[in-house]
Symmetry: C2
Subunit: 515 residues, 2 copies
Amino acid sequence: MNSVRAFSVKALLAFSGTSMRFTCTTIRCMSCPPNNQSPVEATKQLEWKALPGNDEARLNFVLKTPKGTRDFHPKQMAIRERVFNIIINCFKRHGAQTIDTPVFELKEILTGKYGEDSKLIYELKDQGGELLSLRYDLTVPFARYLAMNKITNIKRYQVAKVYRRDNPAKGRYREFYQCDFDIAGKYDTMVPDAECLKIVHEILSELQLGDFLIKVNDRRILGGMFAVCGVPENMFGTVCSSVDKLDKNPWAVVKKELVQEKGLKPEVVDHIGDYVQQSGGLELIQRLQQDPQLSQNKQFLEGLSELKALFEYLELFGVTRQISIDLSLARGLDYYTGVIFEAVRLWDQKELHVQKQNGYNEDLNVGSLAGGGRYDELVRMFDPKGKKVPCVGVSIGIERICSLMEKKAAEERVRTTTTQVLVATAQKDFLKERLKLISILWDSGIPAEMLYKKNPKLLSQLHYCEETGIPLVVIIGEKEMKDGVVKLRVVKTREEVDVPREILIEEIRKKLNLS
Amino acid sequence: MNSVRAFSVKALLAFSGTSMRFTCTTIRCMSCPPNNQSPVEATKQLEWKALPGNDEARLNFVLKTPKGTRDFHPKQMAIRERVFNIIINCFKRHGAQTIDTPVFELKEILTGKYGEDSKLIYELKDQGGELLSLRYDLTVPFARYLAMNKITNIKRYQVAKVYRRDNPAKGRYREFYQCDFDIAGKYDTMVPDAECLKIVHEILSELQLGDFLIKVNDRRILGGMFAVCGVPENMFGTVCSSVDKLDKNPWAVVKKELVQEKGLKPEVVDHIGDYVQQSGGLELIQRLQQDPQLSQNKQFLEGLSELKALFEYLELFGVTRQISIDLSLARGLDYYTGVIFEAVRLWDQKELHVQKQNGYNEDLNVGSLAGGGRYDELVRMFDPKGKKVPCVGVSIGIERICSLMEKKAAEERVRTTTTQVLVATAQKDFLKERLKLISILWDSGIPAEMLYKKNPKLLSQLHYCEETGIPLVVIIGEKEMKDGVVKLRVVKTREEVDVPREILIEEIRKKLNLS
């Protein structure tokens, strides 16, 4: 069984970054425990022998993360923490509470909620017991939570990962965070809806990502428009999904799809085209109110009058400059029943030019930075008595935001730790003194590090500070010990002062507030 | 197809809390799309008709979270946030960076790392593509991350959920958080190990959970002891797992298991018993150094001398009062190679009495509040060149800590929002004025709420503040509008003052710093 060690290392370019394929000779065959051993003992031994020295079986595997997923490195995490803080602080500023739900749900909970995207749901293996699926979004689990706990009103946020077996080739991840804010409850029309849009505006402004636009529409406006145009009721969903493509395609392409693939009459499609290519503010609402056909459609008028109220509230919030009604906006998810919205980054000509030169042009239309809408019927689907709990909510497109932020920070030096002080020495045999001193700093709440080597060089200690951005160094040596002081050094200015030990913490605090 | 609506609601007591079983008549049969429709259209229509009014098929399902999982409500989340902050701040105080890894890994990555617990790993269904498993802990993914990215030294923390198909009847959850801190790299002996123990001490002290004890041992000490007693090498794992039960069982029970179930000779077991029932501090180390048999075992001496160094460092940190060497501590996971440790809550007689009266006695030994150790060989299992990256780390038992904290806070009123101001009115038709005002507060970074009703009563607005702990109310009405002021009310004292609008934000900030 003792074969010659043979590693064949080969770099593979995988979606999730670098990965390595190698022939690993380290792990013994699971199915063949040696004689006189229980399977348990055999398994135990496996681990103790699973080292490259004991080559008894071969296992081929690739050292990578699963397709469509990735690790986040410390620098990425530091940027993400900044972004998450801005988003969560905004949610809290609006009085939201938070909840948490399991990463998987009973399979039936997710069934029939996502239309044609249901095929993207991850299922768990049947290992005996319940059939489970990984959550596809945070909205359906939230609705399940409300129905199960009989909660009829709540303002909640949730930041968690969701899972979709999507195509990584399209630049989509299979595991990603969602940051959701939702308001559940029967309230006066459009007040919670306006708050959701205000939140998107606050977050995108604070993130300083550049110009953005929040497109708004209403499912009832779409429904009314399509009815007026003569679209059969059962084709609402499929017409929506074609029209929704207008943000990335010219009308001619969408028209072709509607006529040739979906079989609508050309005159019906032209009629649709006249409507859905319109966008604007209050003046559009006024124009639509006077449309002879639309003004006869009850569903349409209901949507339009609520959109008008929404706009009035948004004017009071002073955010309408970044908001536009876009009659082609349809949104993918099926559970929306009223207002829908989506925020996108607006690129100016100069930015487009720079991005094209840098080869980023595929990112220009990476999709929405935030999206949401009203879903008044979803909770009812879970409630045994069919009780209605109207909801409106928004999901912040954190992955897209973070990728924009990462590009912005590509040249920047981002600190990945919060260490304020390095405890250093220039002399040998000062490990114990350093340990005593750093313990005092930790116990005083000051983020501090020291090199773990017994006798590190002063230069490498100072170099470590510059590399990782630590602003202060506390240096101890024989002379300082004798004098009952330590040297406090400011890394940036190289300024050094002797500080009596009794006032060291105080001095560090002072320096940190100033520098 | 139109059947009579029939709901049968029945409460079920499930592990994860209240759940409801009901016959839901709301969702149409997926497999029978009506004629003339593509499956896509049929699916679309499904959602739009999936309301209790359109009963065309029946689906039996239980409204619950999966077995062994649970939702977290706002109050629990508020407590968890407090606990997480203390833990993460401590990790950061020690200069740790953070990373994130996917919730699932390639199945092979986890294979052969968890000994007999491998059966508890969740697997994903094979939906075409890679075979995946949900992570079982954060340590193996961390080791995979180090090997894959060729990182040889890092101090990192990670807070994330892990998954184990464990038995909920034993009070174990199947989804829970781990908070891990690990130091990877070849450093001088025991310095990083001492820091891990210092971190446990800092966190448990700051959480004020009551008295605790950190038990320490070393895998090499166990190995040496068992060898000296005459335990065959291949029985190391199984003897460990019996001896580890000494924290919950008297020696007689463990002895019986070792003799009757595992087949060791009684004199061997007695010899083991003499050793593993010992615990103590430096004096125990000195006694063991003089043991005629143990002092001949190289592996034992190696472990002991490192434990001695560890103790010296811990004395410099001033934490040895809560630390005890416990020769029965073995820890479940197989990847440990050196120092191991575990922190437990110490109950005094009075507490034991109170807990028994409250029926909490089953929680007395809920398990460890933190645990960890050195695992020098794990990264090597993933490295194609078999490169060794020594690691030591600790995992904080956040779920147990949170359940203790929840019990402490059971009577307490825990705020679940951070709202500081309610924007209120005593008069009708002030919705727009409230919206304008609250927008100013939000834009100034002040957490504020208002009731969504158009014309709420002042009493219900004040009541809302008391209920949710909002400290300040800003009241506007006609008189205030005319005078260019608002009324600023302190909820607790009921004190009210008129504040000019120009200085409102300033006044609110002043009040919040004071109250």
